[in-house]
Amino acid sequence: MQEEASLVVRLRHGDRRAFEELVIAYQHRVFGVALRMLGNRAEAEEIAQETFLRAHRALPEFRGGACLHTWLYAIASRLCLNRLASADRRLLRGDDEALATAPSGEPSAAAVLERAELDAAVREAIAALPDERRIVVVLRDVEGLSYEEIAEALGLEPGTVRSRLHRARLDLKAKLERFTR
């Protein structure tokens, strides 16, 4: 937290190196949110890049009241939801590269296949959720934000966050039933 506060100070002073550190620190998380929301790597990279660029432009006005990562998630979430709501967006589901992601270590080929199958199932189950539920479950169960942080990032009441999260989990339970028996 202290480290983040120091980074914010440097960012607000226009430290280019600090911006690079920010991107390094949050690239995977921001890209992960975008990919799980949009289901397409190219589109996710575009949104993730735009998230950091908007943050870069708005840094002088960043009040520091919110956590830096919450602020980034808020920008990314808004961009994703806007993109999903755009009329001309082509729903590009089925991302082959996401299926190819493998866990670290040296697992057996069977374990790799099993892990890939499970990841694909989870990804598809999340992708099938309604947008407003999907963003909540991604921020909570994938990115680990608290209810309060999610409420702040999405501009929702904490009760709404809890309700949407519960509905999302029930949907996921139904879709992933064969893996949870």
Binding site: L53, Y147, H166
Partner: protein
Amino acid sequence: MSCHDARELFSALIDETLTREERADVYGHLATCAECRRELAAIERTVALVRGATPVRAPAGFVDRVVAAARPMPWYVRAARAALLPWPVKLPLGAAAVVLVAGLAVLMFRGSQEQQSAARYDAPPPVAAPPVLADRRVTEMPAEAPGAPAPTAPARPPAAPPPSAPPEAASSDRIGAAGQADRTAAASRIDPAQKRSEQELRAESKMRDAAPPAAGEPTLAKREGLRQKAADKADVVASLAAPDRDTAERGVVALVARLGGTLTSRRVEGDAAVIEVAIPGDRYKDFAREIGRLGTFSVESEPPAPPDPIRIAIRLAS
């Protein structure tokens, strides 16, 4: 607590966000309901599956691309991107630019013509001194009429520099460096020896004016003819005495222009200005009548019948 009420709190229970009382109520119900225990376990496994999914990693080079994109673009990159605008944007912009350039070109062309016309009045090309005013020290001067626009382009570039004194002489004449009496004497002096100079100057003037006049509207051609005629010889030598010389000079220029004539030369001799004009012969009577309103007009010599065009040398004095 009912099963429905208990299950509504399962997510919050997993996330440990329930109050102590809520948690006690839920656990109390679970102790008595096997179905709800199975439901809670299924939700817990689902959450574990999602949380255990392989984390996503940003593509290689992502940081470099973001940092590069955050740098301010050089001007040529911005220009190149602007050039690659989509047609629906670029086409109207291009059309607007063409219209703007065409409008500016028309304005500049019209402005140039007006300036050239002004230059013909204000800065006539070098001509020889008239016989009566053949002082070699005197060089022709640009018009000094106050308020007249400064010529931006000469009507015709001089073919050769004036053969007479260097510009400093003219400058000294203009600022009146010589004594008043001396200037008066020089202005009125008519020396027989100067007739040779007159011939020489006239020959040079003819050479300068030998170039064909620029093709243009008939009015311009007519003015060129008048200037050619004026360069040869003054038909009328006269003087105009007025309280304000500058005002009188502007009046003469305006009168000549109104009568369809042109100012062919102007020079300063001492404290007097000598202007030469050429007007159509049939307007000479009007000229002689109207110039009297500008001051005391005295004719020193004039032909029995006015030629066409008629060239008039007027000495303006206060």
